[in-house]
């Protein structure tokens, strides 16, 4: 029995808990996508830093200078790789009868639930790296600003389009049956 909220007409403990929903992991390939995308970013950063020291006459290109700047960038890269790998299993989604749920984050974990009857629109997106691994992202839009929009990345072709159709179908249904 929930002691905190006794004034509510329904005891929250008797409602289906979001925590125990049937969560699915996203495709393993998406880990590679994230690693490649951040890899490209850090590589550009490394090259940029190198060029800056190499071609700038004011900075003396000693081994010391190179190792400090390039080393710290490489360290950040390593940290990023570790966090990305560790955080990957936290990326999970679940579909319940009337809402869609997505969780993510290692250091800052979050779980977002959006009821189907509040969804305005859903679309599939595919970035250049996604395309190499044949992965899609499902983008879910609600009314108002972007604060409550949701993106579920790393879905394969079939799951993605099935999910989108499902969500749109549910949205149309839950919105109208009154």
């Amino acid at each position: 029995m929930n002691e905190t909220f006794q004034n509510l007409s329904v005891n929250p403990d008797e409602l289906p808990s979001v925590k125990t929903a049937d969560f699915n992991h996203i495709e393993k390939g998406y880990l590679k996508v994230s690693l490649i995308s951040s890899g490209v970013f850090f590589l550009i950063l490394l090259i940029g830093a190198f060029c800056l020291i190499f071609f700038n006459d004011d900075i003396e290109g000693t081994t010391m200078v190179y190792s400090i700047t390039l080393g710290s960038i490489a360290l950040l890269w390593l940290l990023n790789i570790i966090v990305t790998i560790k955080a990957f299993p936290k990326k999970q989604y679940a579909i319940r009868e009337r809402d869609i749920i997505y969780t993510k984050g290692l250091l800052w974990w979050e779980r977002t639930s959006i009821p189907f009857n509040r969804i305005q629109h859903a679309e599939l997106k595919q970035g250049p790296v996604d395309r190499m691994f044949k992965l899609h992202s499902l983008k879910i839009f609600t009314a108002g600003g972007q604060s409550s929009d949701l993106v579920i990345p790393g879905l394969n072709e079939e799951t993605a389009s099935r999910l989108k159709e499902f969500v749109l179908g549910k949205t149309a249904m839950d919105g109208s049956d009154n």
């Binding site: 929250p12 979001v18 974990w109 979050e110 009821p115």
Partner: protein
């Protein structure tokens, strides 16, 4: 009334006064973008060089261009009603024809600047949902015509959206009950209790941006101006105090004037389906609020306003674009508690508006906030300055103490209440802020945990709706999960319109 509506079925021009109003609008726009040139012309005019004269001719050319432009704009602007849609046909070089179906029209608001008021016309703003550029303006219409047009459109819109409702429910919309009329003494109370620090900031920003337009080197200019006052500057404290008092008085006058001008004769009334707000002296505005679009009602005070027992009431409506969110907030300064209550009861189901058990948030929030805003700056600031000013660095402890007291005050007020219909946030540091939101209008429920929060088994909950979001920080994870399931249940089982 039928006659006035019939006339809108064929393309119409605006009221003739529109020429003048468009001209003024054009001139203001030109002056706003070219005023540094105009200014330099007036200053440089004394030197009588040919460059100045050329600029003079250019300015004259612009004026003529504006005049012709506004006349043409007037004659090339038509609007009419056709097949349940509002149609605007306009443009001189690039002609555009805009067709807005009634069901996409969200609200129709009136605005009057001083010219409108003299000639008894209004400018009509039509807000539509969806599109980025979600607004259409008709510069001048006779007030009676505008009113007839608006009630016609809104009536048609209601018919289209819910054909089964009989017309009687639509017809009684003329009944209006004024719940708040800001009297002159109240207006001054509001002006006095404004946030004067904010207006000080606005003034500083204005002065600096103006200086920036005129000269490139603001710091140099200031240094130059001040160098003459070396003698006086040496008297240190006197000078400092005097300038503080002067800046204080100017900011005070500024916020008092803007409040009085902006909220003069403010009237908030309840009408069928929502609220209506009319306010302003030089620029008179009329804003309609649709009841079902209201997402959050909040009211807040500050230490001075607390003495007058007044609140600033804010009504947040659903809005399509991010940029519109500021505009869709309606502020009514100077509402008393009873008026706040009647507004809440007008837009929300009143049977659920009642005090509930106040749930506190975790004490860890207090310690956490103090750690980051109080302790760390005190230790770092004190530590560094110890090297320079030695024991005087202990002054930093005042900062720590001040933050501790503010955070304690904040924590004491930080509670939330929940029932089947509402979630109410109570917070505030020096004053009070109350936020009331309807649960079924929530469109996403988020539970967040930082690494620290996870260790302590607490979480932060964010509820987003079509106007923004409401946050409940640092509650136990069990509480957060109970709220999560309950709110989702409420949203998913409610069939009312939510925006």
């Amino acid at each position: 009334m039928e006659v006035t509506i019939d006339q809108y079925t064929s393309p119409q021009r605006q009221s003739r006064v529109a020429i003048g109003i468009i001209l003024i609008k054009f001139l203001r726009m030109t002056i706003r973008s070219f005023w540094p040139i105009l200014l330099s012309f007036f200053i440089g005019g004394r030197n009588n060089d040919s460059f100045g004269t050329i600029i003079g001719y250019i300015a004259l050319g612009f004026a003529a261009f504006n005049l012709i432009g506004s006349v043409l704009t007037y004659f090339r602007f038509y609007f009419h009603i056709e097949d349940g849609a509002f149609i605007i046909d306009k443009g001189i070089l690039k002609r555009t024809k805009t067709n807005i179906p009634f069901e996409r029209i969200q609200t129709i608001n009136f605005k009057q600047n001083i010219l409108h008021q003299i000639f008894g016309v209004v400018s009509l703003e039509i807000d539509t949902a969806g599109a980025k550029k979600s607004e259409l303006t008709i510069d001048a219409l006779k007030k009676e015509d505008a009113e007839a047009l608006r009630s016609f459109i809104l009536k048609e819109k209601a018919q289209i959206e819910s054909p089964e409702t009989s017309s009687e429910s639509v017809d009684i919309e003329e009944n209006e009950e004024v719940i708040l009329h800001l009297s002159v003494p109240d207006l001054f109370k509001v002006g006095i209790s404004q946030n004067h620090l904010k207006s000080m900031g606005i003034l500083f920003a204005f002065v600096f941006s103006t200086l920036n337009e005129v000269t490139e080197d603001v710091p140099e200019l200031i240094a130059e101006e001040l160098s003459g006052y070396d003698q006086i500057m040496n008297t240190g404290w006197v000078m400092f105090l005097a300038s503080v008092i002067i800046v204080g008085i100017i900011s005070f006058m500024y916020s008092l004037t803007t409040t009085v001008l902006g909220n003069y004769d403010l009237k908030l009334s309840i009408k069928q389906g929502g609220l209506k707000l009319v306010k302003g002296l030089l620029n008179r505005e009329e804003i309609s609020v649709n009841k079902k679009k209201v997402q959050v009602v909040s009211w807040s005070d500050n230490p001075i306003r607390m003495m007058f027992k007044m609140f600033t009431l804010q009504i947040e409506q659903a809005s399509s674009a991010e940029a519109d969110q500021l505009k869709s907030k309606i502020k009514v300064p100077g509402s008393y508690q009873t008026q706040v209550d009647s507004v809440v009861k007008a837009v929300f189901p009143e049977e659920f508006y009642r005090p509930e058990t106040k749930h506190r948030v975790s004490k860890l929030l207090k310690y956490r906030l103090f750690f980051f805003i109080g302790l760390i700056p005190t230790v770092i600031g004190g530590g560094i300055s110890y090297y320079y000013i030695e024991w005087q660095a202990l002054y930093f402890l005042i900062w720590g103490l001040f933050i501790w007291l503010s955070i304690s005050a904040y924590y004491r007020k930080r509670t939330y209440e929940v029932n089947d219909e509402f979630l109410k946030n109570n917070r505030g540091t020096f004053g009070h802020i109350y936020e009331l939101t309807q649960l079924y209008k929530v469109q996403s429920v988020q539970i967040k945990q930082s690494w620290y929060q996870r260790r302590k088994r607490i979480a932060t909950m964010v509820l987003s709706n079509a106007a923004g979001s409401v946050k409940v920080p640092f509650i136990s994870i069990e509480e957060a999960e109970a709220l999560e399931s309950f709110i989702l249940y409420r949203v998913e089982n409610d069939r009312r319109e939510w925006m």
